[in-house]
Amino acid sequence: MEEPLIDQEVLRRLEQLAWISRKMSRGNLRGERRSRRRGLSAEFEDYRNYVPGDDLRFLDWKIYGRLERLFIKLFTAEEDLRLYVLLDVSRSMAFGEPEKLLYAKRVAAALGYISLSNMDTLAVESFAGKTLHAFGPCRGKGNAGRYFDFLSDLEIGEETSLYSTFRHFALTHRRRGIVVILSDFYDLAGYEEAFRQLFAGDFEVIALQILSPQEIHPDLEGDVKLVDVETGLTTDISMGERAMASYRKSLAVFSEELKSALLQRGGHYLLVSTEVPFDRLVMQVLRKRGLVR
């Protein structure tokens, strides 16, 4: 029997968490989190003067009786939060021990479960060269089983293309929300234009760069021919102390640039090693970053 992505104990702890969004999103459905907008919840918030055209149902007749002035009652709006999970299933995600994709699935499962537990709307898409599979949008814990099955069934795709994926996502999802991207962000075409598409849609972007220990500390020696698992491109290199130091520096620069690109636009960035247990990532690291509570 296939091992479940998340065991019950972890699920139980995840139910105590909730997403924190810095950008209040305008949900279509009434949710369980307060909105800045005045809405139709039962919780009174304020009064304002009546202007012609206001809904007469919200006139406060008691005040009119006392003061003979028309006031409209305002109530706190309650909106639902939309969580989008973009899961990279390109070939590069099949690398590492443990496999980066499996790790990403578990993280996606945990984050999605938090959302479902809080009656937030969850939508998940897997992508490689383009969007491959989508789940949702849906709400409520009742969808958790289907969600986990969806994740488990995801398979390795082809080459990564962040731009086309994000552009397609931005065009097809008009509602704002939190977009969690689980990827290694290895795209020879770069990620700048891709992120611009997302930020243009006013999404709150959280990027988790998932790397395996074998990528952070490659165990290579001698003269080798490196083969890109996605593109099939090769390059010859003779590994030595100098080459290794240069690689570490390049990785640091790559991650730092990725982080800067996100932070400058109000996004979030987190470099995740698959060595870190996914539940610890969600319940400690994300909580410490103020992304969940």
Partner: protein, 615 residues
């Protein structure tokens, strides 16, 4: 530069192959990575940080190409032009003189160092050249004729022995130059410490390269020994010893004098730096023998620390004077020490002339002549084929010149001599002219059957000669000169390096060497016995049949040889002289250089490859 094995350049065909191999490098193991994105940046960064990235990119290839080129050059055996050239005819002149026996600080003689250099020069034979070895000291000799076999050069070098003789490079050049000009591409190399007299008048059309061996060394030497019988009492001998310090420091030591092996005196001596010292020893010694002087100091050259001289026994000199009495001649002869003069006015019989060392014919002519030496004053000996003759009479002879180097003219000055009447003197072939007048010789000397014959074309009384001091001195010189001739003094004390030539009626002769050994002397067509040249200092003995041995003292007495400071004197002014130590630094076979380069390149390549510096 030329190459001994140019065919090795065929290996250059391997160079394109090496480049091909470089591009067809061994297949590298493939390793899958999630993306080569970062690795491309790694490669870019490594290249950007390399100022000579193009060079470094193919550094290993360049190293391999240079290494292969070095290997090819090493195999081709390049040689420096002017040092060792293929097809060269090399004449090596090896100095074997006394100074070359100097012991250097590392325990080897200069001669051994020069031999090593000659062996290095014989590398020319590998290139198809030829080499000739000539040894020289006082004379030059071919040690090995032109050969293409290194083994023959080695054999010749093994047989080389240093001598105690002086060095005359001119002799060697006279021998080498005519041989060299018959060869194509000749070159002459002189291996010496520079202690030779710069040759003059030698043809230097073939280039001569001087290589100096050795370092400056300290030495004290005996530079002169003169033993004479005292003028006052000929039974006494006076020994004059001269020595010189060629060192930059003062030297102390001792000096011992022996007479026939018996010690006579021993003195402590001290000579200042570069100074000279003279010592005089005296002894009563009638019987004569060998005087030996030994210098007891520590220096680098032992052969000039001993000197010998043979002193003949004291002889009674009986002289017969035939002529009118009294005469100036009689008075002058009697003034000479140890001379017994018998005067007669007319010729005596031949039997009566026996036992006289010298007969003086003062204007008296006789059919007979003495059995010793004869002096004819204003007359001529009997008419014979090989005798002087007097011709017609002449008035007033003007003195033109005289032989100042001749022993008979020693201390004499004929400037004031005036001859009133004389006759024309006709001398036999081989005569020496001692005094020359405007019309011809006035005094001549020639050997005859019994001894020396001296003839003057004028009687002393017909000139002012008896009134001059030169007259008694001349007669005294005659006595001493004829005595030295009889006692073979010129043979008894000679310079090292010259052959011993002995005249005699003996059937056979042998030479006994000072260090032991006996050699037969060859007889020449002129009735003389000749030895090969004497190469060692010491006392030799010549045995003629059953006669008593004739001792010969052989000495160096050559300041140039004893001065052990290395002189770099060029044969041609301005030409550079190369010292051996400097020359050793000059590469002969340049293949060693390229082989070393190859080794270094391989080491660098190994390091670069394994440390992955630029790859």
């Amino acid at each position: 530069m030329s190459f001994l094995h140019p065919t090795a350049f065929l290996l250059a065909l391997l160079l394109p192959g090496l480049v091909l191999l470089y591009f067809l490098k061994l297949k590298r193991p493939e390793v899958s990575v999630p993306s080569i994105l970062l690795w491309q940046k790694v490669l870019e960064e490594m290249r950007v940080n390399s100022p000579f990235q193009r060079l470094r990119r193919s550094l290993l290839l360049l190293l391999q190409l240079v290494a292969l080129s070095a290997l090819i050059l090493a195999l081709a055996e390049p040689v420096r032009r002017g040092r060792t050239l293929a097809q060269e005819s090399l004449l090596v002149l090896l100095d074997t003189s006394a100074s070359m026996l100097t012991l250097e600080t590392h325990g080897r003689t200069r001669l051994e160092l020069a031999e090593d250099e000659a062996r290095r020069l014989s590398e020319v034979l590998k290139g198809g050249g030829e080499m000739m070895l000539i040894g020289f000291d006082a004379s030059a000799r071919v040690l090995c004729p032109f050969t293409e076999k290194p083994s023959e050069i080695e054999d010749a070098l093994r047989d080389v022995k240093g001598s105690h003789a002086g060095s005359r490079l001119g002799q060697a050049l006279l021998l080498a130059q005519p041989i060299a000009i018959t060869r194509s591409n000749p070159r002459i190399v002189v291996l010496s410490d520079g202690a030779f007299q710069t040759p003059e008048g030698v043809d230097l059309s073939v280039p001569v390269e001087c290589v100096t061996v050795g370092e400056d060394r300290s030495n004290v030497a005996l530079i002169g020994l003169d033993v004479r019988r005292s003028v006052k009492d000929r039974a006494n001998v006076e020994m004059f010893v001269s020595l010189e310090n060629f060192s930059p420091k003062a030297v102390s030591g001792a000096m011992t004098v022996k007479l026939d092996g018996r010690p006579l005196d021993r003195r402590t001596i001290s000579i200042s730096a570069g100074g000279r010292l003279s010592q005089v020893f005296k002894a009563r010694w009638i019987e004569g023998g060998v005087v030996e002087v030994q210098l007891e100091v520590k220096d680098a050259l032992p052969c000039d620390n001993k000197a010998w001289q043979v002193v003949p026994p004291l002889l009674q000199r009986n002289v017969l004077l035939v002529g009118e009495r009294p005469s100036f001649v009689e008075r002058a002869l009697k003034a000479c020490p140890d001379v017994k003069v018998r005067c007669v006015s007319s010729p005596v019989s031949q039997e009566e002339m026996q036992g006289f060392f010298m007969v003086v014919w003062d204007g008296v002519r006789s059919a007979d002549q003495g059995f010793g030496h004869n002096i004819y004053l204003g007359c001529a000996p009997s008419e014979a084929e090989q005798a002087a003759a007097l011709g017609k009479e002449r008035q007033e002879a003007m003195i033109v010149d005289w032989d100042r180097r001749h022993s008979l003219n020693r201390f004499l000055d004929f400037d004031n001599l005036m001859v009133g009447r004389c006759r024309e003197l006709q001398l036999p072939i081989g005569s020496e002219i001692l005094l020359q007048a405007d019309h011809g010789p006035l005094i001549g000397l020639y050997p005859d059957l019994y001894g020396q014959t001296l003839v003057t074309s004028f009687r002393p009384t017909e000139s002012n000669w008896p009134l001059l001091v030169s007259f008694p001195l001349f007669l005294a010189n005659c006595l001493n000169y004829f005595e030295e001739m009889d006692q073979r003094m010129s043979l008894r004390n000679m310079e090292v390096g010259r052959p011993i030539v002995v005249q005699g009626e003996a059937d056979r002769a042998a030479l006994l060497l000072p260090e032991g050994g006996r050699f037969s002397m060859s007889r020449s067509g002129e009735g003389t016995f000749t030895s090969s040249e004497v190469s060692r200092v010491g006392v030799y003995a010549v045995e003629l049949d059953d006669e008593d041995p004739l001792f010969v003292a052989v000495n160096l007495f050559d300041s140039r040889e004893s001065d052990l400071n290395v002189v770099e004197q060029p044969l041609i002014p301005g030409e550079r002289v190369i010292h051996l130590e400097e020359r050793k630094k000059l590469p002969y076979g340049l293949w060693k250089v390229f082989a070393s380069l190859l080794a270094v390149l391989l080491a660098v390549e190994w390091t670069v490859y394994h440390r992955r510096w630029f790859v």
